[in-house]
């Protein structure tokens, strides 16, 4: 943070504490992991199981979209359109399953998985459109991202009306739990992590894969360099444009998995009125990765926070508290603001939002 703050700013000590905690966690990954697991087990031990499973399910679109957003933004392209990617992938996945036949299988693959595949593909196509607009035609990334969101917001109910005569799609049979033998018997975590729906496995695997790809591979280093110092990467002989294309398309893959997984595993139908059933989850994902300082595993944990708040409304209502539902529903969104205030703007990659023009072509 270049600008020094006045002594009157009250959020600073709190924010400094968060920053210190975050850096020290990053510097001591082993301690962070052990501490994380301990806190995790404590939470599991003290909270109701129904809340835990519902939290995991609601975390899927947030976590996967956040991990995708990390790749795009780290490479220097701020993809605010991931909300739109969640919408088109969730919607198209459900349409495909309905079209192929609910509960059936086509060419040896269950139709639900075809839905997953096509959902991801559609999301990648939209990400490609966004990438072309930003990288070839030097569009303002924020406005182009908003446009992707608005187009998706119109397109899903538009097609839905043509196919189903209503902005809401039909219901499909959702994914069923996949139980891993033996492991699901582990106390506390077994039923949660090894007796759950496929999209939750995808989320957990995606977080690990995202972390590995970003911090342990050459491609990951390219992505980071493309966002921090594209000129250096260019000088080293790597095509910045290709790296950015790959990163944005990857954000499409992750967001597509999140949207399609959420639609096929948790929702089973797509409601297209208003902000659609995605209802700002893509934007929550952006706040999540800022909170996690672009760390994929951190983004996974952050998504538990927001999803946990989301599923808390059911718990509160079940417990008989007379808090208005409309207000409870906004708790995750209020938390996003509080998080942004205390975390402040995470240091964006230096070249994020800028178009990079290579000297030699």
């Amino acid at each position: 943070m270049a600008v020094t703050r006045g002594p009157t700013t009250e959020v600073t000590p709190m924010r400094n504490a968060i920053h210190r905690a975050r850096t020290s966690l990053e510097q001591r990954p082993l301690a962070a992991a052990v501490g994380g697991v301990a806190v995790f087990l404590l939470v599991l031990w003290t909270t109701p199981a129904s809340w835990q499973t519902s939290t995991l399910r609601f975390a899927v679109p947030i976590a996967l979209a956040a991990i995708g957003g990390i790749f795009a933004e780290k490479s220097g392209v701020i993809n605010i359109g991931i909300e739109g990617l969640l919408i088109v992938s969730a919607f198209s996945a459900i349409v495909v399953v309905d079209w192929l036949g609910d509960g059936g299988a086509t060419a040896g693959l269950p139709n639900l998985w075809w839905g997953m595949l096509i959902g991801v593909l559609v999301s990648v196509l939209f990400a490609l459109l966004f990438a072309v607009v930003c990288l070839e035609f030097e569009a303002d990334q924020i406005i182009a991202g908003l446009a992707v969101w608005l187009i998706s917001l119109g397109l899903a109910p538009f097609i839905s009306r043509i196919l189903f005569d209503s902005p809401n799609t039909v219901n499909i049979t959702r994914f069923e739990n996949v139980t891993v033998p033996v492991l699901s018997e582990i106390p506390l975590v077994g039923y949660l992590l090894f007796d759950t729906e496929p999209q939750v496995y995808l989320m957990l695997a995606g977080a690990v894969a995202g972390w590995y790809l970003l911090s342990r591979t050459t491609f990951g280093r390219w992505v980071v360099a493309s966002g921090e110092n594209p000129k250096a990467l260019d000088t080293a002989g790597v095509d910045v444009r290709k790296v950015r294309y790959a990163a944005v398309l990857l954000s499409g893959v992750f967001a597509g998995l999140g949207g399609a997984g959420f639609g096929l595993g948790t929702l089973g139908t797509f409601a297209g009125t208003g902000d659609t059933v995605i209802n700002g989850r893509g934007f929550i994902a952006i706040a999540t990765y800022l909170l996690a300082n672009y760390h994929p595993i951190g983004a996974l944990l952050g998504s538990f926070l927001f999803a946990g708040l989301n599923s808390m409304q059911d718990v509160l209502q079940a417990a008989g508290y007379a808090i208005p539902t409309e207000l409870i529903r906004t708790i995750p969104h209020m938390t996003v603001i509080v998080v942004l205030v205390f975390v402040g703007r995470t240091r964006l990659p230096d070249a994020a939002g800028d178009h990079y023009e290579s000297g030699d072509d």
């Binding site: 607009v133 908003l146 109910p157 538009f158 097609i159």
Partner: protein
């Protein structure tokens, strides 16, 4: 020498205005073309009795008819018989134009200050509720009639109109301003990204207002989620003889007020030091700070002004359209983003862009009644227009390619041609 420099500067400024207009028009044309293709192709998946048979598929939708309904239906079909100027469709178009001028100005003010206020929608929702509640409660204390000296009796209706409407608009502006100041302050003093906070505040505004409604302000005589109606004399009056009738929910006075506000904001930008500082903070924050502009205060001030304009939009939505606040607020604030982007954030341009999107809103209704095409098409067109306005380089490239290399190419030459001419001007 100085004169020469000034004339060059003037020409450049004019060129960039032309540049912007051409790009906006090109974006509009391109979006309409792509929308037409989308309509035609999606017709193959719809079911209908009659349609265009081609290659074994039946294409149910005729894009020409859709656009006929969109653009001319919004004016009340002027090419068909029995057309009058003061028809219901045109009234709806102008009503939307009026409201979109407010929300477009709201977005433009923030944009010019370098802030992306996505939260006009929330500011409009909150401002509208404040207006409705204020007017409903204030109308209870307006005296039945006032006897002035000399025995002149002023009936309550007139007092109500003169007092309650400004009061209601003020309440909307205040509430919207406060709700806009929140993300401004969060941005200035806590560095919280305003795009995300305003989007979140939109969702929160819906939660807060509907909670307030069910807690206190619900109309006891209705099961719909809405406030009690404001008295009829507190609705924006229509002009007799020349105006549109009272049932059309549109008042020329409101449009005149919106236009006056538009000119006022243009004057604020061009002629006042506040406007100058606001624009400089948007273009060159560093230079503005060096020139003595308090960046944080400017952020809060411009977001407050932006929110107040959104709140005024909500006030007019209440006082002109429904006479009460309804829970289901149309997406005027989001459309304001499109209006401002298409207008290149120029206050005067907002007027033209608001009229276009007014046509979209009203024409969307006639698409819904006259054709089977889903009216959500309008939302897609809006998104496409924003997308293309965001990529001016696309049209400049097209222009360069088709004008210098192969000017006979038919594809999208209107956008391309003009773009190239214009690029030449700017370079000269």
């Amino acid at each position: 020498m100085r004169d020469r420099l000034e004339s060059i500067a003037e020409r450049l400024a004019r060129a960039s205005v032309v540049d912007r207009i051409v790009i906006s028009l090109a974006a509009l044309v391109t979006a309409v073309l792509i929308g037409g293709v989308l309509v035609f192709v999606s017709g193959a998946f719809a079911s209908c009795r009659t349609g265009l048979e081609m290659g074994g598929a039946t294409f149910c939708y005729n894009p020409m008819q859709v656009y006929y309904e969109l653009f001319l239906g919004a004016l009340g079909h002027p090419l068909e018989g029995g057309w009058t100027l003061t028809n219901y469709s045109l009234a709806t178009t102008l009503q939307r134009t009026t409201l979109l001028i407010f929300s477009g100005l709201s977005v433009a003010v923030a944009f010019r200050a370098g802030l992306l206020n996505i939260g006009t929608q929330g500011q409009l929702v909150v401002g509208g509720l404040a207006t409705a509640v204020t007017v409903v409660y204030a109308s209870a204390v307006v005296p039945a009639r006032i006897v002035l000296p000399l025995g002149v009796v002023v009936p309550a209706g007139v007092i109500g109109t003169v007092v309650l409407i400004p009061l209601g608009v003020l309440a909307g502006a205040l509430a919207g301003g406060v709700y806009g100041a929140v993300p401004g302050a969060l941005k200035a003093y806590a560095d919280a990204n305003e795009v995300i906070t305003t989007i979140m505040l939109n969702i929160i505004a819906v939660g807060i207002t509907s909670t307030l409604l069910s807690w206190q302000f619900q109309d006891p005589n209705s099961t719909n989620p809405q406030t009690a109606p404001v008295p009829e004399y507190a609705e924006i009056p229509t002009l007799p003889v020349v105006g549109f009738g009272g049932r059309m929910n549109f008042s020329l006075l409101a449009l005149a007020f919106a236009v006056a506000l538009m000119v006022g904001i243009a004057w604020l930008f061009a002629r006042t030091s506040f406007g100058y500082e606001l624009r400089t903070s948007g273009i060159q924050p560093g230079a503005a700070a060096y020139g003595g502009v308090d960046e944080k205060r400017m952020t809060v001030a411009s977001m407050t002004l932006s929110g107040a304009l959104g709140g005024i939009g909500g006030a007019f939505w209440v006082l002109m359209v429904h006479g009460r606040w309804l829970e289901n607020v149309p997406s005027l604030g989001f459309d304001g983003i499109a209006v401002s982007v298409l207008a290149g954030n120029s206050p005067i341009g907002v007027g033209a862009a608001a009229f276009l999107f007014g046509i979209f809103d009203s024409g969307g209704n006639s698409i819904g009644t006259a054709t089977d095409v889903p009216p959500e098409l309008v939302g897609i067109l809006t998104g496409l227009i924003i997308l293309f306005v965001a990529m001016p380089e696309f049209f400049r490239m097209l222009g360069r390619r088709y004008v210098t290399v192969d000017s006979a190419r038919p594809a999208r030459t209107d956008g391309g041609d003009a773009g190239a001419d214009d690029g030449g001007d700017a370079d000269a």
